[in-house]
């Protein structure tokens, strides 16, 4: 089935998935923490829209519940929590990266191609119209991980982690029209707990080592040099 034969709704879903990939790239490139959080929120919003559209087009209305949870958690609650943390910790202006931004972007592009390559056999297993987006969601996961690797500050790493979770959620939605409700609720609860725990940990880390720069944790290595 060629692309032109898909319905406009399905095309819109695919376009939204591409936009989610774009937000992942923006997360990689963003240098200010506040705009990083805002970009994360917009990724969540796109995810919400995508899930709603899939729910509508496939007729699986329980997906609306997942979408609602996404909206509540990832668009409102977690960004709000992070913003509050940033304000309380006063790290609004922090700009931090490991390696040049262009190298990171090139690595990101390569990761997208790689995930496409890896997802090719998986794609054959599914016959949904959205099966092409499996590669995209895999790429979102990998890009989130790349972001965790390249960022120095713990807050940005948390955003990377959450965006990985976004990728996982999206993969579940597009490949099988969502996981069982119990699992989804569990994951949502995990995210919630993780966000809260991270918040507490930030204060602990800073109290302990006087900074949120994870490079300072190097002091914890085993071998004395």
């Amino acid at each position: 089935m060629s692309y032109a034969q898909l319905s406009l709704m399905e095309q819109l879903i695919l376009t939204l998935s591409a936009m989610i990939l774009l937000t992942s790239f923006l997360l990689l490139a963003q240098s200010r923490i506040i705009s990083l959080i805002n970009t994360f929120a917009s990724q969540g919003f796109l995810l919400f829209l995508g899930t709603c559209l899939i729910a509508q087009s496939s007729g699986r209305y329980h997906l609306y519940i997942s979408a609602g949870m996404t909206l509540a958690l990832k668009v409102f609650f977690v960004p709000w929590l992070l913003r509050r943390l940033v304000r309380r910790l006063d790290i609004r202006r922090d700009v931090e990266n490991v390696g040049g931004p262009s190298m990171i972007m090139i690595a990101g592009g390569a990761l997208v191609l790689f995930s496409y390559y890896v997802a090719l056999p998986i794609r054959e297993l599914s016959d949904l119209a959205t099966r092409n987006t499996i590669a995209i969601s895999l790429a979102v996961i990998l890009l989130g991980m790349l972001m965790m690797i390249t960022r120095r500050k713990a807050v940005a790493q948390v955003v990377g982690f959450m965006s990985m979770e976004n990728g996982l959620f999206f993969a579940a939605v597009v490949s099988t029209y969502g996981m069982p409700m119990v699992v989804e609720l569990g994951i949502a609860f995990d995210v919630l707990v993780a966000a809260v725990l991270f918040g507490i940990f930030f204060f602990q880390i800073r109290a302990g080592i006087g900074s949120l720069d994870v490079d300072h944790l190097n002091r914890l290595h085993e071998v004395d040099r």
Binding site: G100, L113, Y116, L120
Partner: protein, 670 residues
Amino acid sequence: MALNLVYLTIVAAFGSAVLPILFCRSTVASKLVAFILLGISGLSGILGGGMALLGKVDISAELPIGLPWLHCHLHLDPLSGFFLFLVSLISLMAAIYGSAYVREYQQGSQPLLPLTLFTGLFVVGMDLVMLADDAFSFMIAWELMSVSSYFLVAYQHQNETNRRAAFIYLLMAQIGGLFILLGYGVLASFSGAFDFSSMQAVELSPAWSSLAFVLALIGFGMKAGIVPLHVWLPQAHPVAPSHISALMSGVMLKVAIYGFIRFVYDLLGNIYWQWGVMVLSIGCISAILGVLYALMQHDLKRLLAYHSVENIGIIYMGLGLSMIFAGTNHLELATLGLIAALYHCLNHALFKSLLFLGAGAILQQSREHNLEKMGGLIKRMPVTAFCFLIGCISISALPPFNGFVSEWLTFQTALQGTILTNHILTALIPISAAVLALTGALAAACFVKVYGVCFLGLPRSQNCAEATETAYGPQLSQILLAALCLFFGVFPTWTVSQIENIAQILLPTGIPMATSHGWLWLTPVSSDVASYGAPMVFLGIGSAWLIVWLWLHPRRKKMEIRIAPAWDCGFGSLNARMQYTATSFTMPIRRIFRPVWFISENYQQPGENAPGGRYELKVGDWAWLKIYQLIGRLLLATAKRAAFIQGGNIRIYLVYSFFTLLFLLWVVSL
């Protein structure tokens, strides 16, 4: 007929090498003999090569020279005819240019004879490489070319840098030669004979043919100057006399391309697409790094040498695309890529020779090779300036000149990547095209820098303020080359239809669509997909200009143009030090692509010995610093370890010989 002309080419070139020795009493006579014979060689080569290409000849000959069991096989087909045409064209230009250019060597301490001798031998070597039809004569011709060009690079040997450059050149040429030899060795061991026709006939297993391919890629790549095997090129090309630089940069690199095409397309035959990916990525890296390194050079000839690396990269990109398509059985597209690469060979030979000849004229007339000392030369040397401008436009791949056509064809080939079933390749090919676009745009920036700093503005040194136009010979050769640049840019359809003859032999198919709409339109795939009407573009630019000029000209009579001091926002009178220099022009690019170079910047505050402050900038080549110096150090360390065998006692050396003899006798007895 074509073969006889080619024989005449070789004999005349050989004569231009040897005959001047007879007239060594009179430098004028020997010079005349040498350059006239070189010119005759060039003319007959143009005719012979052109006939071979246009007439699709396919002649073989066997000369009873060489080893007793291996006679010298010669073969002339459109592929060798095309490259023979290139070599001869540029050697004709060098002959026209050289006779006036070498005048400075005539009076100086430098004897002229070595120059003419090795120039002749160099051209003979290149011609013979094209003709050779067995590995043995190919290698002999190849080495003749390498060794004689070594002497040309070392011609002005009183400078330390020249000797060093020549040594590195010779070293790398020999290593490259070794790889080629091994590549032929793989083929010969399966075919059992050294002549090319039996090498063509054998079928190799994928592993062996890939090994032969890699050996050829390294061997010919060493000569062609792909990154990171390019380090000899920016050192050797600038130090040779300028018409030799034109020959080396313009055509010697093409001989390497010829060898590569002959080896891969003709001898190996069965092409795998993975090779194409390799060649394409090497091409991309060479193109982009070549132009970025060129941007940071301030020595005009060195800059041009780095641009050769870039253009070789573009040629390899075309070849890589062609090999990808050939390996996936899209023969028409493979043909298109091959034609793009060959067209770029032609174009690069033309505009790079033109630019080197122009650089030589500047060097001779102003005695400056540093861009930062030039400026305002357009008023002193108008003809050179005009031809150099055409060279700059051509190399920057701007329509309607020739460089654009071949890059456009490469783009069109890349665009057809969508028909591949391997979608990873489909995604990678556009990225390589984006690299090509970046290369082209950076090349344009580089040549705006070169032309703006060198010819425009105010002179930055006394030498440049007093330069005069060069002699008629150099002027004529530059004008001819500039005209050819325009010709091959405006009539691409005819050129493509001729180059197609080569592709029909190597990949037994043509691209009938490309030229099916008449000489006016070039439509590589079909007229719906893309078309380029080069004559129309030329006419269009011309007529738009004419209309505007006709419209504005009457006003000109009413109002005279007033000449006044430059306004410059009212900053006061201009002087040469206020201008942007080559360093400042490229500063933004230096900052954006910073990791590409090894940069050491040093700023000293104004002090006693430097009243205005002092700024020092050194831009180094990572490949040289990180790879070659490391290899050099390792070699030296190993040599030191091994030095103990050199005991100094003559009896010890005799012992070595004795045991070697015993060992060999034992081996023989096995």
